[in-house]
Symmetry: D2
């Protein structure tokens, strides 16, 4: 057998361990993993020179097409993702129309025309009809993951329609019967946050900490507890997105011990930044907000002890921030290109997190959670050849040239992706994602 691509002489890292050797790829899939001497001939053979070869990252949480045209974001941002080792991106997308079916077809088509990497969708529940439509959506699109939003006031400028507990309950009741169905919840008690915001805004404060203090950690904890209660009641599987509080993984672990199926996502920014960092201002406004060091350390505890389930970037390219008023500034930052590097630097190098745990967080768990297993998220026979080659020792400085707000500009990080392989194609090497890759990505949320 002659392979299309062989990568040899690698430290192959998977969620459960590692070996020295390599992989052979044919027709976009891995056909063999083995010791170097067992690897076959190939059209292209890459010598990893002992560097780390991991499954490509699955970023299960990003927002594209929010402020810039969707088609455009699907080019620029998926290229950025590929440069960061991301080989699959799952988008939270929202649609105010009665049905999600036309929207799905449109976004799928646009995505496949433009995207560098594979992609899929979660759908936001934005009106009552969306709940009733869930079974049909599952059947006709393969999307089984729905998001309810609690973090936004009714008149928020982003246009998000906030959920009620009734919506969540009704959706959970339906999703509990869908194999692989999952409800995602943005947990913040906005009724309380609105009250506090009114008080703090009245003081005239404009510092980033003021924003955080206006929606304190206990607001998120309260909603997490409420959602876990409803998940327990309905038997629905619950995913807590962009968890920013240390109690999140603790509450989830306790609930899991009682048999509740609940998982915790956190994001690189909650692990690397606090609202009191001196160089940050309203540019770093995100939702939920950056927290303090105590919450940050709580999240790291969950990263290291297994109670954080997965990482998501919450990457969202907004127009440049206006820097006029903390309270009306749009929230959101971008992080595709540095997500992996941040985790290598702060997790692997600084805190001794095993590389296999990082693979679990970035690839294995997202694939299991969102129906991509046994196709993505692993380096194994039969899986898509989605791979990232990592130089653990490379030191490079973050320089952001793309859209959106970067909160790491100028940081020197150790550990960077040097090559990304997506379904067998080398889409990123020598620091470049070639434009020829636009439109090669395929939608992975498909009807069964």
């Amino acid at each position: 057998m002659k392979a299309d691509l062989v990568i040899k002489n690698a430290r192959v890292v998977r969620h459960d361990g590692e070996f020295h050797g390599g992989v052979a790829v044919k027709d976009g899939k891995i056909v063999l993993t083995g010791s170097d001497e067992s690897l076959p001939d190939a059209t292209r053979t890459i010598d990893a020179e002992g560097r780390v070869l991991m499954p490509g990252l699955i970023d299960p949480h990003c927002h594209l097409g929010v402020k810039f045209p969707f088609a455009e974001d699907m080019r620029t941002e998926t290229a950025a993702a590929a440069s960061g080792g991301v080989t699959t991106a799952l988008l939270y997308i929202r649609n105010l129309k009665e049905s999600y079916l036309p929207f799905y077809e449109e976004r799928k088509a646009l995505g496949e025309e433009n995207s560098v990497i594979d992609f899929g969708f979660h759908f936001g529940i934005q009106r009552e009809e969306h709940i009733a439509e869930i079974p049909e959506i599952v059947a006709k699109t393969g999307v089984k993951s729905f998001k309810c939003y609690f973090g936004y006031e009714p008149d928020n400028p982003i246009g998000i329609v906030p959920a009620t507990d009734g919506w969540v309950y009704a959706a959970m009741r339906i999703l509990a019967k869908v194999p692989g169905g999952v409800i995602n919840v943005h947990c913040e008690n906005t009724q309380i946050a609105s009250w506090i915001k009114k008080e703090i805004a009245a003081t005239g404060r404009q510092d980033l900490g003021a924003y955080t203090e206006s929606r304190p950690a206990f607001c998120e904890v309260e909603t997490i507890r409420r959602m876990i209660f409803l998940a327990e009641k309905t038997g629905c599987s619950l995913h807590l997105v962009h968890t920013s509080v240390g109690m999140g993984p603790v509450l989830a672990a306790e609930a899991q011990a009682r048999g509740v199926h609940v998982t915790v996502e956190t994001c690189p920014h909650y692990l690397t930044r606090t609202c009191y960092d001196e160089d940050l201002d309203m540019r770093a406004k995100i939702s939920p907000p950056l927290r303090d060091r105590n919450e940050l350390e709580g999240l790291w505890a969950g990263m290291l002890n297994g109670s954080v389930y997965s990482l998501g970037t919450d990457h969202v390219p907004f127009l440049p921030k206006k820097l006029e008023d903390l309270w009306t500034e749009f929230p959101g930052v971008v992080s595709f290109p540095w997500e992996l590097s941040l985790m290598l630097h702060f997790g692997v190098h600084q805190r001794g997190m095993p590389l296999s745990r990082l693979v679990e967080l970035n690839s294995f768990n997202p694939a299991r959670r969102f129906g991509l297993w046994p196709r993505k998220g692993h380096i194994d026979v039969g899986f898509d050849a989605d791979l990232v080659l990592v130089d653990l020792d490379e030191e490079r400085t973050v320089t952001h040239t793309g859209k959106g707000t970067c909160i790491y500009e100028g940081w020197k990080l150790k550990g960077w992706p040097v090559m990304t392989v997506a379904r067998g194609d080398v889409v990123y090497e020598n620091g470049v994602v070639a434009e020829t890759n636009y439109g090669r990505g395929r939608c992975v949320t498909l009807p069964a």
Copy 2:
């Protein structure tokens, strides 16, 4: 590259999934896993005909050399184990002398002269000196797993020296500092059990249920809770052996959620037999006792939801039972040859347990727990070629011809191992373990 052995056309099942294809073995180790077309030539190539290929079982809990000579048991019983798909056996062995070092050398040597499969040791703490010796034992034998016994009265005829809470505490305090160190505890509150036994024995009852009722489930629950408390206090990793109560996995899951490192083992008999089964009598006396259906179902819940960590046989070949008096009868049964088959029949076929979960319980988790990772417990490049080929559909009747007491005689089970490969050698095929295999097993608990 020409391999020594290739198994192809298999449904290769691992703890985290499966693929169709095969493995190549050279020098006793797996060098490649791949699709059929990617497999190399080999000295011997076996066509699995689509059957299941799993990692060989690691039985982390057996007792050999208790009533029959150790050397003899290491022949007869490891052959029985090999016929059941077991490729590594970990023995709980006890020694009343001051030091474990000579005992280790002797047992290791005798084992390597006789055993069919690889083997290793846990040591029982039988006197105070053993606790102080732990660091030296770890350094000079590689054994990091020690057992304390609560289930026996001081004058028990087996000669087991029961632990005190002081022993457990002292051992935990030391083991908490040993990387990979683990305390195993036989959990039963014997002070309470003794009291109740006196009452029930006085009634003249001789049925198996009388024995169980004399050491009720809450006695085991109490000691589990106490051990978890001490593990939490000392930071020591705790393994609850032969758990027979449904609360075991529940309590462990709750403790894990608080950050306590505690794992639960159960045994095939607690999952398939109750003390009220009409065909059973004092022959089926074991320690802890068979329980009722409620406890059995609680354990299955833990098998399916992940809160049971691993399976052990507690295989112990005693002399034939005397059948004279329930209360003085020796406890213990054998199950090497049927352990896997029982789990295939009752777990996989009857309860829909995924095969990958069975691999996790039988191979992956025991290897991780007892320092055999990344050498055993997985089918992957660089691992020992310890494999078992399984025919899921074969139906065969249990017939016990060896030593010890079998409590499944005449049961027709579906799903049997048909070939066992140990470090690349086919040690069991066509229903036979050849005598040439005696003495090929090697001790796996070795100084670093």
Copy 3:
């Protein structure tokens, strides 16, 4: 000393025990409790003939002036209360104006012109301004008890303004600093209930069970949990009014064990009626709804083990029910005259509840909770002479002639009040409350 009133030869029952003898009253207060031979001469001496003398009931939960004029209700309903042994009534009253101060003055004046018995107020938080006004309300009215309503949809026909979590949080934060301050919450998750109601109403069902199933027990449990969380966060004292679910007292007991100050009220109807009672229809609609037998028994468990704190009638005289449509029917029933009798019949006689526990629930605890201690709620030197004489053996049939809906018509109950003494005046005897008593009641929530 010559007393105004002596009651002798009584079984004097208090929250913590009982004795045989009597009390002497002078100037409306108890001056002495003693054995019969120690009692002084008095203007009127009543021989209790061995019957039970208890502290008068404090009904901490009623609604007067909702549909009928306040002044009128304060005559008719307080007379009804006096006939039921109630000597103090605390009214939940609401006011949509910006300030509560004029409303307090008006209601206090009207009450003192008309009421037979002493009375006081809790105030409903109905707009943001009410929260900021709390400190001034406390100072100028003595009212320290505020209610937030979660059980009503925004457009409810009663005109109740539902609370937000923001309101509750803000009110709790203030009340946590008020000695004796307490937040009362009507706990039901109306967002979920609205969703379910829509579904059930669409089926055309008009039976009482349909109403209950449209706002199931878990909706109340959810809100109880949320409120306890906020009470714990803010340090505020929380009172769970009209608790209808068995988990209520359980959750409160757990929270108390953690140091949260939370108390549970339930009502006679939740202890004596279920939504599936065959003789009931939409007439018995109340909010929260009658539940099933399981919840009823859970509440009785709390009555007997101490985890229910107090009883309230939730007495509300609405216009006669229309009996046209379950879903638009107004909720609410009356129970002043039978509350005590229901508890004597079903609690003391049927379930063996000690009389002293009934005094605790009806008098001692409400007095402690709402600032009436050490003036009311006890038979002791210096306390107001608020007393009820009870004939434990009298059997009488419930016949309702007053306003509002009675759900016990025709029930034969054992144990009835036969005389009520309010601040030393015999206001009810021989089955009659004389009209001369109108206007003798005084407001007990007064500025310090």
Copy 4:
């Protein structure tokens, strides 16, 4: 009616409140409580001059006759108790003979010949026969309270026979069926403590902290948890004597919330002394040991929030300590005369504990717990006239002249008892207990 004794012009404090006025006593019982003007004539009338009148203390935990003759201790120590405001003492007594019945008769007779105050018994379970005898003991002596000892090694010089879990379980099973039955447990895991003692004693340390560190707080916590588990399992009422750890009241409160009947006693020394107090040495050895400030504060939290149930002195007059070796020194201190004063000084004055809470801890709760209600523990019509008059402002220095070890010598305390009345007799006034009082005390644990 002419009374024997009237105390007037007092601040009468009870567990649930207070009033100004007084009490009238006839034939040893209270016949009246009332305002000053309502009090009758009496043979002796005492003007309290506004000072506090409380129920006499019930000390539910002392040991008399351990080293000195029982008859002698019943004179000297009950006189000391009376001087401290104690009017009833409950003795933990032990007997190694098969039956408790002769022992009870003997101790009862000796007590009634010598004691100044009323007294009763708890019995220690010291051999298996004592457990079987419980029903007969209850019937023939009225003693329903039994103690099991875990804090002593088998060969302890005091001669205490330590319990097994089997004994506790068996006793609990029986006591669960005895109305008012209670098991008392001395909670310490002596198996662990023995191990640690061996280590610490080997260092040569002789300081008091060494003794405490040899039996650390977690040993007591472990046994408390185990006992609560058994109480929950058997339904038996559990009393945790001389609790020295802050987790004690916390665990009890959690268990109570689950419906377990468990109460916590602590002692004045655990609330006022730590093992690291610089002036203390092996003289202050007690069992369980004095702890550190953290445990002390935890106990005060329980004193103030209600989770400590009652106070006991654990008064035990040993021979003078030898001061030779920490490890063999006998444990135990005396505190009858200062118990109340210590609580007034450190609780009421220093920490603002309400006097009514102190009455609850010292009189009301012990009476309820140990079958003395409604006869003792309260100032109310029909109760024994057991009273103590307290001067809250008196400052006096502790000077110990009696037997045993005092650990407060020279402390200036504020708040002292000035008169003690026992069943209507003034037994202590002007600083003296007259010898004429010897033999007036009566046994209160009597067959029904």
